[in-house]
């Protein structure tokens, strides 16, 4: 059941700045469960679930955009040069396929390889879209594409191109479905443009001015061969973020998340992330500021076409968020 939703979201098109399609999909999922739905100036999808009046105003943010590429130049032979939308590494590119919103598929390759141990920078890569000249090329400069890759469920592992952060969207959607009689006034924000600088969450938080901001996102793991040390592993539970390179989470909120996990008997991990940040960074400093934190789903191979999470971690992430939101948040 949940895998169907995950597959629907991770296979959808939605590069940063071009979230119309993924927004429509998510909107259809949440419409029956929200009291109010709106879309703001930048395209953030905001679903409100009213509280009893006894609690706080809480913003939960999961970004619906994904990394991708944008065409920068069409050669006279009809090949498409491109730049990155968000953090695209040249290590992940050769032979991959890119899908544009007009349905055109581009095959990624690069200029002549002089040294197999050296990876070309992005600007020495191109897309072959089946054109033979600039004139018949179906892609024009400024067109945005995403990587194409099917969803894979293998044992407990779920793999797809845009687990970052459609899996956060799934956690938000499922939590929204399960919540009943909550004290807090909840705003689930499916944010835009996270991958290019947590921009959507900033304007949404400027508008909503929440007391508490909780981001739902993926985080890296340290459980791979010769990996950079990090005390987060796949399958060991959702991670409660303490700090990343853009934010130090509100200490009281971190404690509260930890307590709720313990009370519910949920596995969890404490996360300190060296590189990268989430929408919590923007929420924390928007307007007069708010108590911000993040529940992360551990994810291998982030920003590749095979981002991999554990189904159990996802389920426990939903349970943790549900526990946090359905009880008092005393900071």
């Amino acid at each position: 059941m949940m895998n169907e939703l995950i597959q629907k979201l991770v296979e959808a098109y939605g590069p940063s700045g071009f979230e119309d399609h993924i927004r429509r999909l998510i909107r259809a999922e949440i419409e029956p469960f929200a009291d109010e739905i709106s879309v703001d100036a930048l395209g953030n999808l905001i679903a409100r679930k009213k509280g009893s009046g006894a609690g706080l105003k809480v913003m939960v943010a999961a970004h619906m955009d994904e990394i991708g590429v944008m065409a920068t130049h069409i050669t006279k032979e009809g090949f498409v040069r491109f730049t990155n939308i968000g953090g695209v590494s040249p290590h992940t590119l050769l032979g991959n396929r890119v899908e544009f919103d007009n349905g055109v598929i581009g095959i990624v390759f690069c200029d002549k390889i002089e040294d197999r141990n050296q990876v070309h920078p992005l600007n020495k890569h191109f897309l072959d879209v089946g054109a033979s000249s600039r004139e018949d090329c179906p892609i024009s400069v400024g067109a945005a594409g995403v990587f194409q890759r099917n969803f894979l469920a293998q044992g407990d592992h779920l793999t797809a191109k845009s687990m970052d952060d459609r899996i956060g969207c799934v956690v938000a959607i499922e939590t929204l479905k399960r919540l009943e009689d909550i004290p807090h006034d909840l705003y689930f924000v499916f944010s835009v443009q996270e991958e290019v600088g947590t921009r959507g969450a900033l304007t949404a938080a400027n508008h909503l001015l929440p007391d508490v901001g909780i981001a739902l996102d993926v985080t890296l793991t340290g459980d791979l061969p010769e990996a950079r040390p990090m005390a987060v592993s796949l399958g060991q539970g959702p991670a409660i973020k303490v700090k990343d390179s853009g934010m130090i989470a509100h200490a009281g909120l971190v404690q509260l998340m930890r307590r709720r996990a313990e009370e519910a008997g949920l596995p969890f991990q404490m996360e300190v992330l060296d590189g990268g940040t989430t929408d919590a960074r923007s929420m924390q400093v928007a307007g007069p500021g708010c108590a911000a934190g993040c529940i992360s789903i551990p994810c291998r191979y982030v920003h590749s076409q095979s981002e991999t999470v554990s189904a159990q971690d996802v389920e426990n992430g939903i349970k943790l968020l549900t526990a946090v939101l359905s009880q008092p948040i005393d900071l």
Binding site: G17, M70, T72, T83, I85, V141, G142, N206
Partner: protein
């Protein structure tokens, strides 16, 4: 001769010290707007009343500051130490003439003449920290009597036209300012148009951020001058915009993804009005759009720019046809702007 471009480019307004250019623009627009004011940071903000047909609040922005130098110290021999204000390639500085301080004292960024360079020195790039500004003072006291620490220095370039090409300094972004002034002088729009001539863009989009907070517009259009890179290039790889091929429209840069609804509105308008345009190469760079788009609850924003060669050097070039087409395109796109266009599908 385009007097507007001549006046605007020959005026001085290095970031943080925009008084001269602000007063000039104020005088150029005062008779064409309902009200104008200067905010705490020095932004000039004006309102041009609309016909009342539309309730939109639309902001059109052009930054009025330019890159330049700031005097930081005086040496015992009377030469001046300086720092750059805004982004520079150090190689563009040596041997150039500048005007220093409010009195506009002539100065030269001194360069050791080629006669006195050792062979290995000819291969070196002189760093800006090693450069000095020479105002002809004999010693520290004489120099200190003429300039103050913190004085700005701007380039000195007379405006000229050669056929369709305009030559001058600071087309980045006086070309945008000129275009915005032309919009203010035209017929009323369906909505109130707020115009901002902003400060401190070149040092980090600082003026625009507070203007957007203040005006809280429903949509914003940013008028700019974007670097053209259309000189002979052997390889068929991602050239940037070219002079004479029309207004350049941003889709994405280092600080923004432009609002796709506004971008397609602008390109559709260009096609309908038969105005040539070029999509600026997506990737690096940044404009006030980055600050405005993210301010408050967010602002749908787009950028139209005049392509300009040799940005951030003493002398730039633009095509006058491109400039006129930027005015025409911005005007037409604004007249066709409706609240429905800004609804998310």
């Amino acid at each position: 001769m385009n007097e507007l471009l001549k006046q605007l480019t020959e005026a001085v307004g290095v970031s943080g010290d925009e008084k001269e250019i602000r007063l000039l623009i104020r005088d150029l627009i005062a008779d064409h707007v309902a009200e104008w004011r200067v905010d705490a940071l020095g932004n000039l903000i004006a309102r041009k009343p609309g016909t009342g047909e539309s309730s939109l609040r639309v902001l059109v922005d052009a930054h009025m500051d330019e890159v330049g130098l700031m005097i930081t110290d005086v040496d015992s021999n009377g030469t001046l130490q300086f720092e750059t204000v805004g982004g520079f390639d150090d190689r563009a500085l040596l041997g150039k003439v500048v005007q220093v301080g409010p009195q506009k004292l002539p100065g030269v960024i001194g360069a050791r003449p080629v006669h006195l360079l050792k062979p290995n020195q000819r291969q070196e790039i002189v760093k800006v920290e090693a450069m000095r500004l020479d105002i002809g003072a004999k010693n520290k006291d004489e120099a200190a009597g003429k300039v103050k620490i913190g004085d700005r220095a701007a380039f000195v370039t007379d405006y000229e036209e050669v056929a369709d090409t305009a030559v001058g300094k600071a087309f980045d972004n006086r070309a945008g300012c000129a275009a915005l002034i032309e919009l203010l002088r035209g017929e009323p729009y369906p909505f109130d148009l707020y115009a901002s001539f902003t400060v401190q863009e070149e040092v980090g989009l600082r003026g625009a951020q507070v203007v957007a907070y203040d005006i809280a517009p429903d949509a914003a259009l940013i008028l700019e001058c974007t670097p053209a890179y259309d000189l002979p290039n052997e390889k068929d790889v991602s050239p940037n915009v070219a002079l004479g091929r029309g207004p350049s429209i941003y889709v994405m840069d280092a600080g923004t993804i432009q609002d796709p609804r506004l971008v397609s509105h602008i390109t559709r308008t260009a096609a309908a009005e038969q105005i040539p345009f070029q999509i600026r190469q997506p990737g690096g760079g940044g404009t006030n759009t980055a600050a405005i788009q993210k301010t408050g609850p967010g602002v749908p924003a787009a950028t139209i720019a005049v392509p300009g060669r040799y940005a951030h050097t003493p002398t730039m070039m633009i095509s006058l046809t491109d400039y006129h087409n930027v005015v025409k395109l911005a005007d037409a796109a604004l007249r066709r702007l409706t609240p429905e266009l800004l609804q998310h599908r």
